[in-house]
Amino acid sequence: MPFFSGEKRKPRAGFFKFSCCTGCGFELAYFQRSLEDTLKSFDFTFFRLAYSSGALEGPFDLALVEGTVTEPHQAVELKRIRENSAVLYAVGSCAIAGGIPAIKAGGRELEIEKRVYQKKLYRLTSMRPSVLSDYVKVDGCVRGCPPGRRDLEEALVSILLHRRPEFIEYSVCVECKLRGNICLLVDEGLPCMGPVTNAGCGALCPACHRACYSCFGLMSRANIPALKNKFRELGLSGEEIERRFTLFDALRLKK
């Protein structure tokens, strides 16, 4: 059905947060450019950042979920959200790949926790960080930390238009070249993660003379060993290389 023919009701959307910085929520509710259109085109029946009321139970035409799952109750809630949502997109590196909260999974976790809470760990119920797709079917990934503007818009538009989304799935290098940045990896030997990182940011870092640190996460089917080799040739130690690949993707690599 053509989408302009007059919707009877606005799509109902829910925004949910697990363990994270709430940045994705802020990107949606504050930083993005088409905020006004977004808020007017959707009926956010659950969005704690913008509404103090709201029905957690749904039903939702669109559920956007940010954050890493680090506590058992979150997994339960996630499943409930899934059951009540027609479409569920994971938003941000935390929800998709583990992101920064998953760094913990790279070390000895209890030790890490003890560094923070010296006394008895009163309420602590934390578990190994995990991603949404470990528990439920995810219909799409809005990558980035914070999520990329283009993909975030794609997520929203896909609901308004009733069509499948097409999220960006190529390397940061492609965007980097579209911008005409001189390649830092080739020209200056900086350990840029661009070749294995999913695009969507617009190659921000190389454009400001900084090696990509992979905040959009690894792209699917990236040739990780090949870039590690390259970094070794540049003189990086094994530890330094490992750190680069575990900043936002500790889960994927620690299997």
């Binding site: 704690r48 070390g107 560094r115 923070v116 809470y117 914070p146």
Partner: protein, 420 residues
């Protein structure tokens, strides 16, 4: 009567409040912050010093700049690196524009609906369409500034690193930002007028107002510790002036002034303690809005939102002045790892933020400690909430609940930060 707000909406992060009134007495009161911990201080151990700003930015989605600047300064102290003047100017622009932006979110999106009796600012439409439009325009103006200096995005900026900035916007861009800011002047005043028009509930707090203070400047990115009760110290004295303790019902820790008690940090404390260093127009507005200079004044936490509105005016002017003098060139000292220890204090939008690191000779973090504004305010929030409820015991339950929520929001708490 038992009141439980399991999940407080329109605040950053996850927390709730519970209280129980029995026989005209407040029996129990808890602000429980159940935002799940991510163990940042634990995760940072083993990472290299130059990764720290990017990691700590992710503590919070609304004040990443503050965490970055604070960690950068602490690390620069640890490795003995002096950034150049232009880098410091650019850093100020980042902080100032972010504070203005964060205040704007809080005032319009989070706090304002309380004063209209609504659950969301979206429900204010269509009546307040004009205000909404102004909000949209203003947020873009401030975010553009943070984004331009931050390498393309305001949220988790990329160009700000230990030592300085990997790139700064060119003259043309800076010029564009300046004109954007200039055009926003009127909108800023209108937001101020709207906010200062709210009738605020009565409450007198005993919390000590703590803020940084610096000769000749409205201190944000660095300064001495000062308070309205005479506290005075350097950054490195932080540990001897405050203490932190864990609470059984919450993932956040509570901080207090040693030997005294609760403290309040944030816009209200800053405006109260540094009123004479506000820009002229902001100072005038502050006086008009009822802010009195001097210790022991302005001690109503609800005033915090007015103070935020004043700060938006102040930082609009400050950003303009800085954009006039900041330069586009980027040469900055490249950091080299060195063994050392460093701590830094800055004023985040929500108040005093403390980062401290021990770094080994290879540049690896051995110990990290982060204490956030909301942790500083936590004890005071509970104390004042208790007071507020006791003062209004006669009010209907619904009203009491709304009042309680409004007070918590007035502090502009950030639970993600507080737990981290």
């Amino acid at each position: 009567m038992k009141t439980k707000i399991g999940y407080l909406g329109r605040v950053e992060g996850e927390g709730g409040v519970e209280f129980e009134i029995q026989g005209g007495k407040l029996r129990r009161l808890k602000v429980n912050i159940w935002e799940p911990p991510r163990f940042f201080e634990g995760m940072l151990v083993g990472r290299r010093f130059d990764e720290v700003p990017d990691i700590v930015a992710r503590i919070c989605g609304i004040c990443p700049v503050s965490h970055m600047v604070t960690s950068i300064r602490a690390i620069e102290k640890a490795i003995g690196l002096e950034p150049n003047e232009n880098m410091l100017l650019a850093r100020k622009i980042m902080s100032y524009s972010q504070i203005a932006s964060s205040h704007l979110v809080h005032l319009v999106m989070l706090a304002l609906p309380d004063y209209y009796g609504k659950s969301s600012f979206m429900e204010l439409l269509p009546g307040e369409e004009a205000l909404f439009k102004k909000f949209i325009r203003l947020k873009d103006v401030f975010n553009d500034i943070t984004a331009a200096f931050g390498g393309g995005r305001a949220l988790h900026p990329v160009s700000m690193v230990v030592g300085g900035f990997t790139a700064l916007p060119d003259e043309k861009r800076i010029h564009g930002l300046r004109s954007g800011l200039f055009a926003a002047g009127e909108d800023v005043m209108d937001v101020f007028k709207t906010v200062s028009g709210f009738e605020l509930p009565d409450l007198k707090t005993d919390s000590e107002f703590v803020a940084l203070s610096e000769e000749g400047e409205y201190a944000i990115n660095k300064g001495r510790i000062s308070s309205d009760m005479g506290l005075d110290g350097e950054e490195q004295d932080y540990g001897s002036l405050f203490y932190e303790k864990e609470v059984p019902y919450s993932n956040a820790k509570k901080t207090a002034v040693k030997g005294r008690g609760s403290l309040m940090v944030g816009a209200l404390s800053r405006v109260s303690l540094q009123s004479d260093r506000l820009s002229e127009s902001a100072r005038k507005l502050a006086l008009e809005a009822g802010f009195m200079p001097g210790p022991g004044k302005n001690k109503n936490p609800f005033y915090n939102i007015r103070a935020q509105a004043i700060e938006i005016v102040h930082f609009t002017g400050e950003c303009q002045a800085l954009l006039d003098i900041v330069q586009s060139r980027t040469a900055f000292p490249k950091p080299v790892p060195k063994e050392g220890e460093g701590s830094a204090l800055t004023e985040a939008p929500r108040g005093l933020l403390y980062h401290s690191y021990i770094i080994d000779r290879r540049g690896i973090v051995r110990k990290a400690n982060i204490i956030t504004p909301t942790a500083h305010n936590y004890l005071g929030i509970e104390e004042n909430l208790r007071k507020l409820i006791e003062n209004n015991m006669d009010k209907p339950a619904k009203h009491l609940q709304l009042l309680a929520e409004a007070l918590i929001r007035a502090y502009d708490p950030c639970f993600s930060c507080s737990v981290h």
